[in-house]
């Protein structure tokens, strides 16, 4: 499939490997798209993990699958479907749960579970109505880096730039509202509006990530870098920078590995992301244990 006999192969010479990676236009486009997506997902994912809205992010990502499948069925571009569905779902999540009476947490999670399953069922229906498009289904669900066009890269760039600009405007009140919503409300921060805007931005980011990792593996870029960075440091600015850096490294390594093998890009991105998260957690635990041992050792010596 991806390993024809035309001299593609991994060698020990890293410089020549990179030159080979960037020799094809589709690979350059994939790296451009991956870089844009990693930055946008890292920035919004950092706030998402801080706000504990991982389940919402998961739902937005899953909803983008029927959106894309429906768009293909209607003959519209899949990109439009991704964004429309994810942003519409973000608006619904932002405004509905309050009116459902968020008293019983159990009934609320039943709602989310039902919505997710129904969205996926709709996606299955659209794909089946479109007919015999199995490879397309796999890449909608598990991602592909082949055939990303220059215009798609441009769309990703514009959406990411707008999302990051809006995020930069609301970043301070959003952070305030996340850390202490009650005090923020008293100080006149429009907490509900800021939360709603954030969910829409998250929907846009989830739609962008879906186009690289597939709808089911969006978590890999939204959650894993941020979760790993927040294990490493408690200082917001530092962990924000680490998140974006980790996201870029994960995407670049994932795309490179997928180019040199026959396995899907989603697998490599999730694996590298998970490895980063596990290493960060292990490092934090090891440091904490060493510190505790040091503290325990002191009185014994004294």
């Amino acid at each position: 499939m991806l390993a024809p006999a035309s001299g593609i192969g991994l060698s020990w010479n890293i410089a020549s490997d990179i030159r080979e990676l960037l020799a094809y236009q589709f690979m350059v486009n994939a790296f451009r798209a991956g870089t844009i997506v990693a930055v946008a997902a890292g920035a919004l994912g950092w706030f998402m993990v801080l706000r504990r809205q991982a389940f919402a992010g998961h739902t937005l990502a899953i909803v983008s699958f029927p959106g894309a499948a429906g768009a293909i069925l209607l003959g519209v571009s899949a990109t439009a479907g991704y964004f429309t569905a994810a942003i519409a779902a973000a608006l619904v999540i932002a405004f509905v749960p309050r009116s459902l009476g968020g008293r019983a947490a159990s009934s609320e999670s039943a709602v989310i579970g039902t919505v997710q399953a129904f969205a996926l069922a709709c996606g299955a229906l659209f794909v089946s109505l479109y007919g015999g498009f199995l490879n397309g289904l796999t890449s909608l669900l598990f991602g592909t880096f082949l055939g990303i066009s220059a215009s798609q890269v441009l769309t990703l760039l514009v959406v990411a730039a707008v999302a990051l600009a809006v995020l930069a405007v609301i970043a301070r009140p959003l952070f305030f509202a996340t850390v202490d919503p009650d005090v923020a409300r008293v100080r006149g921060v429009p907490v509900r509006l800021v939360s709603a805007v954030f969910l829409v931005l998250l929907g846009a980011a989830a739609a962008e990530v879906s186009q690289i990792t597939g709808a089911l593996l969006v978590f890999a870029l939204l959650v894993m870098p941020a979760a790993a960075a927040q294990q490493l440091t408690a200082r917001p600015a530092v962990s924000f920078v680490i998140t974006i850096g980790l996201g870029l490294v994960i995407v670049w390594l994932g795309l490179g590995a997928a180019y040199f093998s026959v396995y899907p890009v989603g697998f490599f991105i999730t694996t590298f992301g998970f490895a980063a998260y596990v290493l960060a957690t292990a490092g934090r635990v090891a440091v904490a244990a060493a510190r505790r041992r040091g503290k325990l050792a002191d009185p014994v010596i004294a």
Binding site: M1, R52, A54, H58, R98, L100, G101, G102, R103, A105, S106, S107, S109, A110, V111, I112, G113, T114, Q116, A117, F118, L120, A121, C122, A124, L125, S128, L129, L134, L137, T138, L141, F142, G143, D182, V183, R185, V186, G214, L216, L217, V218, F219, A220, V223, M224, A226, A227, Q230, V262, Y263, P264, G266, F267, I269, T270, T271, G273, F274, Y277
Partner: protein
Amino acid sequence: MTPAPAPPGLTHGPLAGVAHRALIGVLHGVFTGLANGPFSGIANALGQPFLRYAFIAGTAIAAASGLVGYFVVLRSQVFTGDALSHVAFTGALAALAAGTSLLIGLYGACVAVALAMAALGARGRADDAAIGSVFAWVLGLGALFLTIYTTSARGANGTSGVSVLFGTIFGLSGTQAVTDTAVSAAVCAAIIVIGRPLLFASIDEAVASASRVPVRTLGFVFLGLVGVTAAAATQAVGALLLLGLLAAPAGTAQRLTARPFRAMWLSAGIAIGSMWAGLLIAYAAPRIPPSFPILAVATGCYLGAFAITRRGALAGPGRRAPAGSDDVRGERVNPLG
């Protein structure tokens, strides 16, 4: 299967077992009875073995999902069900990639992970970022196994991945249908046997353990049953959609009645009803994959329940009114303002 001895005070147990067996009996009766009625089209359809297998296995799976799902929602373990659906996909494709039976991977992975989660959950709750990271990786592994399987000689047709994800209830063979029905019936029986203590332990864990209910053991047994149900339901509606079959009927039943055992049976009934309606719609419109109408009917029931209870809440200022007013006027209630 021998009926388990019912503990004293368990009035629903034996009745329920009979009810379930009667249900299958009634189903057969309906099939044959309809042959001369106005629904002879449906009856003719049921003469076809694949639809008969789908109805029999689907009924049992739906009943098990409804009963188990009621407790899943009651114990706020919907996210656990979500996790198991991811595991079901990866387990099934790992077994296919390794060249063994799909059932071994499906049941093995689901039950093992369910028990592991029961063990972890007892020590402390992992946060959603940790859970999300693990499941994204599990799905990534599933994508790897899918590629390994479809690029190998065995999986040349490449539809197995799709059928694991979205279910193939019309493709069940006779033996598969028998296996699924037996497994699901066993799950129903087990839930009926442990139903009363499990309800006690779910609603008030502290008091239950004080009155010598084995809360931890029940938690293990229950999550094991969720794993088995997830594995069985994967074949009916698919790994990605089984969450809907667990959550939607149970959520509907909980909105419609506050009485626990009535809600439990209502949940099972709604699940079975959705399954039947979905199968008939899918048979009438062959281009629609059966999982879609099954979940659409279940979701429609949930929406209907919302509409009904909403109107009730608006008509009379019940016990929900204080919470709503608190939400709306949050700023004014806040003493700091």
